[in-house]
Symmetry: C2
Subunit: 210 residues, 2 copies
């Protein structure tokens, strides 16, 4: 039975799941959820995810939500397909997990806020709040200082190879790289090289419709 992903191509969380499925070469059916008309708050969608957020995944009788839980599931269940996105060695996996948590709790809060202010608000005809941008550029800059140190010693965040720890960053980076926040990445040599590398992955180009 084909996996179904209920999501939206503009949602960063949905893109995270598309990227993972393309990396693994797992075929899936995309079921668009129209956020503009609030379809994610409909009874039908709430039966998939009671929190009313995209994406949701259906694999046979299994329904999952929360994008990072979905990518973990795909990476483990399809471990032998496509590109390896997790580590089998428990110590290496633990280091990967640390950087997956760093993405979720350090990178995502600052970068999502900047994506909203710099990229999505203008798209919706709303006004960017410059004070908020300055505050979160400073926060993201501090996070990326630590990434710069990490990436000067390790090619990828989780270790020597590309893993979910890197992949989870891609959607917010896609939004931010054409914005003024790109300088936060570009001014740090190791972060800049890492960003260019992972943004050019074939699976990501497919997932983000480029």
């Amino acid at each position: 039975m084909t996996i179904k992903v209920h999501g939206s191509p503009v949602s960063t969380a949905s893109m995270r799941v598309f990227a993972c499925l393309h990396e693994k070469g797992v075929p899936f059916e995309f079921v668009p959820v129209n956020l503009a008309v609030g379809e994610h708050k409909s009874e039908a969608f709430l039966s998939l995810n009671p929190f009313g957020q995209v994406p949701a995944l259906q694999d046979g009788d299994l329904t999952l939500f929360e994008s990072r839980a979905i990518t973990n599931y795909i990476a483990h269940v399809y471990a032998d397909s496509g590109n390896q996105l997790i580590c089998k060695d428990p110590k290496k996996m633990a280091i990967c997990s640390v950087w997956m948590e760093v993405e979720a709790h350090q990178f995502d809060p600052a970068s999502s806020k900047l994506t909203w202010e710099l990229c999505l608000k203008p798209l919706f005809g709303m006004t960017t709040d410059d004070a908020v941008v300055a505050e979160f550029e400073a926060k993201l800059g501090k996070v990326l200082d630590i990434y710069e140190a990490r990436l000067s010693k390790s090619k990828y965040l989780g270790g020597d190879s590309f893993t979910l720890a890197d992949l989870h960053h891609l959607p917010n980076m896609k939004y931010l790289m054409p914005s003024k926040a790109a300088q936060l990445f570009n001014s740090r040599p190791h972060v800049s090289a890492w960003a260019a590398d992972i943004l050019a992955r074939p699976a990501w180009l497919k997932a983000s419709g480029q």
Copy 2:
């Protein structure tokens, strides 16, 4: 070599790790980090966690930070000791992961804010902001409505047995249960029974110094 946990008994993230180690019956050495004098921002601590946040764990030559990455590591590496905190079946594990992500992205933001306003600010002689409390009580209430529905069908969040998906909630619940926010839990019968159950676990009583 004994595991070392660098942390603080008042830190919710540290308590999460202590709870996990006690559940697994894994001996560890507690290395106190004095947050009041900023020891978590010292060079020595930053070499363990560059983000300057407790806890950090050392297991031989492995250093980990981010509490949820640490609990995952302990639960996997010590899978056969103490109480089982993860599921071996990939589909069941995926459901557990969903609810671990829900804790991190839905429960924690609202409950941590309330812990700060209602419990920690008074402790530090600061004034609670009633408007912030009202806003985050409403947010936590909505999250707990979904927990009530989930727990009416499943004894624990991740499934039939207690797992990390439940354990990760304990530290904020410990702070909130003696506060006025307890009514958010107590007014929902299944949430209330679940809270009473998991807060009474022997490992948690040990971890939280009760």
